[in-house]
């Protein structure tokens, strides 16, 4: 039974996947949908055309950046639920700057991104400071800061930044469109030789770069080491001469900066203007992505791709005439999380594995190797 552990692990994972699909099938069957076709649309349809795949990549981009930011906070001992608020404040500052700048594209783009980062970093630093200075739980403060940011943004959209074209009308409040020189290009605009379907914007490269940089920062520099030590055990870190409160604030700033950047990239790449609801809930789903990615910046990349895939797939259900609401994405996300948590618990428990091994040995009628 040399390979028992491998077989066992693979077995548990396979079982979890089957379990997820089983429960999802049950729900779909209850909804009266064609189960196989629904799964085909969710998991395979996004791969059918380059246009669809581009859609997946566009969703993956902000998810990756937010997920990386959540990782930094989480590894430093802070659960940052304020991703939404930090995205909003980042993109708001970026839009205000973008609407008022006359800089040429080569300077304007980096500057807009910088202001997005700045806005998110400041909004993230506040709960960090509150926690470091007064011990305010970040679970409370970040959620409250989400509300403040959302209401402030809503006010800005309706009053100072309101697009005159929709003023007085019944349309949703929005800002004027950014000038095209400030947009993130689509990949087929940068490389005209590419297929017309390759429509994803270049933000994905920013996302991948950020994931790599954050990984290097957290695992290859002394500052990252100290942040991880402070997050893993604050008392031991303090004992080791690490200023836990300082790194707490720094971690929240970096985390907020990532979220602010994600919001800005989403505006520059997809919406090209400020809209209500333009964060797409990525500030929250980024948390799921971070956990699914093992709280590792590089693990976040495939995790973000996976969630982008099912998210795009679910939104395509309507077009494919499947009578399932696109909210199915939420159900699937929830299922995936539950099954991952359960599988992790099972895999982390050596006693269960031991028992399984002995049962199997007994079943095969072999004498157990001590």
């Amino acid at each position: 039974m040399k390979h028992f552990k491998l077989v066992y692990t693979a077995g548990v994972i396979l079982l979890s996947v089957l379990l997820t699909l089983g429960i999802a099938s049950l729900i779909l069957a209850v909804l009266g949908a064609d189960v196989l076709k629904t799964f085909w649309v969710i998991f395979c349809y996004p791969f059918t055309t380059l246009k669809n795949l581009s859609g997946v990549i566009n969703i993956m981009t902000p998810l990756t950046i937010v997920g990386v930011g959540i990782c930094v906070a989480y590894r430093s001992g802070i659960v940052n639920i304020g991703g939404e608020g930090q995205m909003i404040m980042g993109l708001l500052l970026a839009i205000v700057f973008a609407l008022n700048t006359e800089l040429p594209r080569a300077l304007a783009l980096p500057a807009i991104l910088f202001f997005g980062v700045l806005g998110g970093a400041c909004w993230g630093a506040l709960p960090g400071l509150l926690k470091a200075r007064f011990g305010v739980s970040e679970l409370l403060s970040t959620v409250m800061f989400n509300y403040i940011a959302a209401q402030f943004y809503s006010y800005c959209l309706r009053v100072p930044l309101l697009d005159p074209a929709v003023a007085g009308g019944s349309g949703d409040p929005q800002t004027v469109k950014l000038s095209t020189s400030e947009w993130l290009s689509r990949i087929n605009e940068v490389f005209p030789s590419l297929d017309k379907g390759m429509r994803f914007h270049t933000g994905i490269f920013i996302a991948l770069l950020i994931a790599l940089l954050v990984y290097l920062f957290m695992w290859k520099t002394p500052v990252g080491f100290k942040m991880r030590a402070a997050g893993a055990s604050d008392r031991a870190a303090r004992y080791g001469g690490i200023s836990v409160s300082r790194y707490m604030v720094l971690a929240m700033m970096i985390s907020g900066a990532c979220c602010g950047l994600a919001g800005t990239v989403e505006i520059l790449g997809v919406h090209h203007r400020g809209l209500g609801n333009c964060t797409g809930g990525y500030g929250f789903s980024g948390i799921v992505v971070a956990l699914f990615g093992g709280l590792h910046p590089l693990g976040v990349i495939p995790a973000a791709f996976f969630f982008a895939l099912i998210s795009y797939g679910c939104s395509a259900l309507q077009i494919n005439k499947i009578p399932v609401p696109s909210n199915m994405i939420d159900v699937l996300q929830g299922l995936v999380i539950l099954v991952i948590v359960a599988a992790k618990l099972v895999l982390a428990n050596p006693y269960l594995m031991d028992r399984a091994q002995r049962r199997l040995c007994a079943l095969l009628g072999r004498k157990e190797a001590a």
Binding site: P222, V223, S233, A236, Y239, G240, G241, S243
Partner: protein, 520 residues
Amino acid sequence: MTPNAITSLRIEHITKRFPGVLACSDISLSVGKGEVLALVGENGAGKTTLMNILMGLYTPDEGKIYINNQEVVFKSPSDAFACGIGMVHQQYMLVPNLTVTENIALGMAQLQDGAKQDPFLTRAKRAAKLDLAAVRRHIVAISEHYGLAVDPDAYIWQLSVGEQQRVELVKTLCFGAKFLILDEPTSALTPQETDELIALLRRMSAELSIIFISHKLAEVKALSSKVAILRGGRLVFRGNTADHSSADIAALMTGHEVYLPVNQSKREPGKPMLEVRDLFVRGDRGNMALNKLNLTVRAGEIVGLAGVSGNGQRELAEALTGLRMIESGEVLLDGVNLAGKTPRQIIAQGMGYVPEERNIEGIVPTMSIRENLVLKDIGKPPFSHAGLISNKKIDQNADALREKFDIRCSGVNVAAGSLSGGNIQKVILAREISRNPKFLIAVYPIRGLDMGAAEFIHKQLLALRDQGVGILLISEELEEIINLSDRIAVIFKGQIQRTLGRGEATQRKLGMMMAGVKEI
């Protein structure tokens, strides 16, 4: 159901496997009426596993248990309770904000729920019938019968550790235990409390059988009639305690001759290395935990700080390392005032610290051994250059220290928290000593460690002393303090009661001074 008296308990060929570990291998033991069996062995020898099997917490893979020559099978702790076996664990299972009576009543309700045959309605019935007055009468009767002084109306949080332990004993007896299992009963007690407990258990052994687990050979000799020694999950020795010396038992326990090193150096210590002057520090509840404390430790000197825990030891250690704010007073390390400095600055001044809570303060448990070994130096060469970590240097450092300090692990990449207590302490000591400190504060350095590890740690401390490092050894173990110290300071209510030279101190004298007696 009231269990019958247990006249004999026998276990035969008990084997228990955990993943990758053979915790108990073919162990057979027997205890007769009125006998006290001491179960000794190093950490990880399988003592606690064996007792957990007796308590029904684990089921053995092989082997049988007999009570009064009848085979019994324990599927859960309530089965063991029902047969009259009771255990007092190392960590007490009491609710601090309930009274003694309420705590015991709580346990009774749970116990009887589990043992009852009729599974329905009983819980509700029992809750409705909860008769605290009857429970209280029962407690008083038991405590008078065995001479266990317990105030049934006191809240648990008001009680000292020794009193809480008596509550645990009364609780176990109230459940009808006829056979007691005690897991390291003296590990948290002061010397006086330990003596009282031993006298108490000796009285109780007239009516009950007792198994107790211990590291401390003095107690084993004082209390037990029989001794069983486990090593690596096997029973290596079984015999009458009276026929064997402590040294024999220690040798059987570790598998080699043990000698706990004694400070015999004649070398004169050097200049004052740490001077504490009129130190005031607040405790967690805002009280003055240190009240004008004065203390000097010279280079090449070990000063033992003896005292009952809670007299300011923790606050002193934390104030000296910058983890706790100093209200007023001076702390000079080699002439530099440390008051108001951050832990990082104090570490840079050459302060080493082996903290009390090694598992959560001394190491970051989820980080690897190699990372923990450089916790204090990661930002400096050779472990990082130009803002980047040098993994090669960290690995070299870890391999060298693992070798030098005999850290037993499957590799330096495993999480430090997965190591045994002794190996965690070796990791901490390796880090502190390899930083070449001027001064070292060691708080309860061998608490909970087995003899082999304790011997190693003590040798390291003495070697460090001989290199001219000043050491403040904070401990409750008088034997440890007397063995190692050049001078012994006794702390009581945040002040140094008196300082004694190596020759003057005896356990008795120190014990009295720790209790607050000034002149003897």
